[in-house]
């Protein structure tokens, strides 16, 4: 791509570094931005900048927040005795979207994955342990992806928490809703069988 303007080229270079964005798409975005009113572009720039200058992590759970305390931890209606541990805030949002959960969260900021250079010391684990030790905490729910990294982290946390007077649970894994048994892979199906639950009517 040959540019007649270094300003345009810089913008394209910056955008093409985004995940899933190539140079052609970056150019489309740049052209779109050039055609928008200045106020709108300033708002966008401001929104991007604030991600770095104003965004904080919640001092309790490690989730993203504006004021040092996230909206979940600040909400008196949430059950503070139940803590759901998740990998990152997008997983937290996925669980929140189920509307099935009334407790609070704890965001680790990753999973134990030595191949990516992430060990337990890189994760938000020590605050979880002190939260678990706090009086009034009843249950720690581990909600991780069903991967080697997720299983490793789950085992590690369960070990670290095993002497605490809290109940430790993990989300169940099995057949997805609307899924058919004949198309489920053997491992998932085997796990569903092993972790079957009593059916009551």
């Amino acid at each position: 791509m040959q540019f007649t303007s270094a300003i345009v080229e810089n913008a394209v270079d910056a955008l093409s570094g985004f995940p899933g964005i190539g140079r052609r798409t970056a150019l489309r975005l740049v052209m779109h931005l050039m055609n928008r009113p200045e106020a709108e572009v300033v708002r966008l720039a401001d929104a991007v900048l604030k991600l770095k200058t104003e965004l904080q992590l919640c001092s309790i759970c490690g989730n993203v927040s504006d004021s040092g305390l996230c909206t979940v931890c600040a909400n008196p209606m949430r059950n503070q005795k139940q803590i759901c541990v998740v990998e990152d805030f997008s997983d937290q949002m996925a669980i929140e979207a189920t509307s099935q959960y009334g407790g609070v969260y704890h965001v680790l900021g990753g999973l134990i994955s030595p191949m990516d250079g992430v060990g337990p010391e890189e994760l938000n684990i020590s605050t979880l342990i002190s939260r678990a030790a706090q009086e009034g905490t009843d249950e720690i729910i581990m909600a991780f992806s069903a991967t080697v990294e997720g299983d490793t982290t789950m085992f590690y946390l369960a070990r670290k928490l095993r002497d605490m007077p809290v109940k430790i649970t993990c989300i169940s894994r099995g057949i997805s809703v609307g899924g058919e048994i004949e198309y489920a892979d053997e491992i998932t199906l085997g796990r569903s069988l092993a972790n079957r639950t009593e059916y009551k009517v």
């Binding site: 030595p114 191949m115 060990g119 080697v148 590690y156 070990r159 053997e186």
Partner: protein
Amino acid sequence: MHLQRLQLFSFKNHTEAHFAFCSQLNCITGPNGSGKTNVLDAVYYLANAKSYFNPADSQIMQHGSSFFSVHGWFADGDKEDEILATFTDKGKKTLKKNDKTYNRLADHIGMIQTVFITPYDISLVLEGSEERRRFMDFTLCQTNREYLEVLSTYKRILEHRNSFLKKMEGRNPDPDIMDSYDSRLVPAANRIFGWRQDFISEFQPWFQEYYGWLCQTTETVALDYESELITEAYSDILRRNLDRDRVLQRTSSGIHKDDLVFSLQGQPLKKFGSQGQIKSFVIALKLAQYRYFLEKTGHKPILLLDDIFEKIDALRAGKLMELVARDFFGQIIITDTHAERVKNHLKSLDTEQVFFELGG
């Protein structure tokens, strides 16, 4: 199950090639470099979604081409299955069965069994233990779905455990993380170990029978499965070797170190076997593999015989063909440089025969 038709595009030296095979003996003849072995490899590719010789698909693609494809039509009684494997220069590999794309290539493994006998097989004897483990794994994966799953789980966890040891750079690893890996590694290793043990005890008598037949000899040959897990529980081994693993920064014990020891008259084959004995040994291994597939699945695999008459003497070749006629009447595809020689070997066999001549 047999291959009725095969169509190749840009597959190694075949820009475009079509073959209509019969359900019994098929012979491909032609000079060196005419691509005989590549046709066998294409059949192997349809069954296993990879080449027998080239681990990288990009090396299979004809130079200057943007893709290659292998297309095969298989028949099993009245049932017909069409398998299409394609690879593009973008690195995308797809495998379709009856126009439906497989989500995972592994789901295809085991549908079509092949036994490939080639002169390169002596690497089983001459090379390191990895070749022999691969032979065991390949044979087991074809007949036991779970084996493939458990083995890949084992390898994945092992990779994590090794990176963790590397990350620690020789420092003491957190025992809770080590236990997290070991608690999943141990049951996977135990299952693989058990399967391999059962496999060898079932496989061994067939192997010995075929070796005796091929060589018309009473020499004793044996396969011994060698694994640290035979004498000690894997969990104990891991615990005992923790210090060593910490220093080496990798997992030094486990089923990824297993071996299969080949012996002749109680002596190591690699050291004491003659060239002829080594060749017969690997052919007997492959014939036993054929028998194993047959017994486990009830179907005759496709037998791919690459340049077989060139590499073994007339007596053994004669015995091999006799055996093939007696026990192995599935589909066979043979390659040879000399059309006359192969016709001579096959003329006494009362079977359907089709000949293909490849140009130089």
